[in-house]
Symmetry: C2
Subunit: 265 residues, 2 copies
Amino acid sequence: MTPSELRIRALAGFPPVRPGDDPGELVADAIARARESLRDGDVLVVAQKIVSKAEGRIVRLADVAPSPRAIELAARTEKDPRAVEAILRESVEVVRAAPGVLIVETRHGIVLANAGADMSNVEHDEEDDHLLLLPEDPDASADRLRAALVARASGGGGPRIGVIVADSVGRAWREGTVGLAIGVSGLPARLDRRGEPDLFGRALHVTEVGIADSIASAASIVMGEGAEGRPAALVRGLSFEDRSEAERAGRARDLVRPRQRDLFR
Amino acid sequence: MTPSELRIRALAGFPPVRPGDDPGELVADAIARARESLRDGDVLVVAQKIVSKAEGRIVRLADVAPSPRAIELAARTEKDPRAVEAILRESVEVVRAAPGVLIVETRHGIVLANAGADMSNVEHDEEDDHLLLLPEDPDASADRLRAALVARASGGGGPRIGVIVADSVGRAWREGTVGLAIGVSGLPARLDRRGEPDLFGRALHVTEVGIADSIASAASIVMGEGAEGRPAALVRGLSFEDRSEAERAGRARDLVRPRQRDLFR
């Protein structure tokens, strides 16, 4: 059922995140600080950055030896060859390279500038730059987050919640970033609308809805871009009880268009 | 300021929309039915379909004589040559054509399958098919909607609200549709974050946020895909008071990436 009302609340007051921290504990603490308790249907959207930091996905550029290919691509894209090397190690294909732009397909199948690697909001000093990579397996990160939140929410049973690990990304043809679901656990990543009739009984022309990406974009409105210190949001009002078990067990990979159906490589 | 909480409520109970209807009246009636009254910062997201229907943007395929180019493209895309002709008349460029797929840039600068034209949720009989086109000028449609809603909300002054005319669209690389702002009035289409420092004082790597597209996607979660009869949503909790007058007067065109910066044509 399409919900008739959604409430989206930013979760704030996170401490600085260090490698080895438990993102589930951090988010659970933030929920407690907000005096919320999790209910069936709640979806937690968590910024990739805090998950990556907790998982220690930080590369010290001084430790990276760029390959000849990275040096060539760095010249073409006007980027640091060490950063390009770190990005290539996360990638299976370079989709576009131009001055200032390096768009790749990551190991997760996501087409992203710089493989989602980021130099902002990583603690740094000028002489020792770091790059923050995407989580190794964001769907697995979402699973662990969900398990930790369910365990902490209740002694047994626990609410049926979903977790999205989200990033802010650029797009083809459009200016401005939107949210993207790079990890999904406990909710559909996309909703199949095939065969559902429209108001006049005709089968719907639109086939599938990218629900997890839409939820990630909705949450991005309250999470901001990192400067605000709000790396998570609680989305309340969704229900996927009418959906099949398979659909409810969505994965971010479900949102990746298969290469053979992709006209924009 | 990034809002810390958003509430998104579907507006329902719309009558069938006919050419000549006033979309502002329809949405104002729906707001009244929901026992809401508009406040400063509210954003109304309205489905392109009801705006297009009210504006009479309906093409009877039987009236369309396909050009040789439309006939050729129809063969390549396995589409009705009359529909392809109607789509080409809305377009400035064919971006991709393949079996089942016709992606164009519309006159508004939006890269869209079938120029956003739709055969679902248009009343039809089997022998007389119709195509519903995008509004002629969706930003102007949003302006008119906003003026009508402000006028109806109050005798004088009126709340500072925003209006987004939204469509559900497919994307490059990703499965599943998301919401897109095709018309914008009274709010920023994108937010400039250039120069805002992150938590560690470094200038943000991400430059701009596609806020109107994110709001359209957020609203799409409660609006569904037409089968539910919820062609509008009220988004409450936003505030753009800290933004410049120019940014607050956003247009959907602000979200179109200039061709010279577009690597995916």
